[in-house]
Symmetry: C2
Subunit: 112 residues, 2 copies
């Protein structure tokens, strides 16, 4: 089995940091400039900009420059990649539990 | 805003790798030993064991040793942490779109 890097890898990696998740939660309420987004964080601006870069490279956000102000917005489609994978796992899990249930019922029937 | 490491961080980090996601998909069909889990991958065993370690540290899997065989199983509750965060984001996003819709309708009404 070959394991090559996939877009979903960078999505999950981007989500693995609380600062980046907070930025996504903020962008869920509407677009924001770098300084607006950085405001709640007690963090040097270059470190914060690095987080924005990781988010943009993952495709979870995109930015546009208007004059000197760069504004970020969410790309919800990208979050769906991760959500779909997780939901698929849960469905498989639930199906497995159902099969186990059915099997246990069969055993019970046989005991009678 | 303080950003401290949270359990969900290590869950998303563990999910950011195709080998680890494949192992989780495999464990979704039932428990497996190290050699069973490693079999589909063209990878040196120490590297593969490293992936299992990342998965176990994230709480997504747990292992038990029986004699010389270590068996892994999925901990579905842990996946739910990530799923819940993503679903919450989508709900907020949908609500925002609804509000935008309502606002656009108001504008339309005024135009009449």
């Amino acid at each position: 089995m070959l394991s090559t890097a996939e877009p979903i890898d960078s999505v999950f990696r981007a989500l693995a940091d609380p600062t980046r998740r907070h930025v996504l939660e903020r962008l869920n309420r509407g677009p924001g400039s770098v300084s607006e987004l950085a405001q709640p964080f007690d963090m040097a601006l270059p470190s914060f900009v690095e987080h924005l870069k990781v988010l943009e490279e993952s495709g979870l956000v995109r930015s546009r420059k208007n004059g000197r102000v760069r504004t970020y917005q969410l790309v919800p489609k990208r979050l769906k990649l991760a959500e779909d994978w997780l939901i698929r796992q849960r469905r498989l899990w639930v199906r497995r539990l159902d099969q186990l249930d059915a099997y246990l019922l069969t055993l019970k029937e046989k005991e009678r």
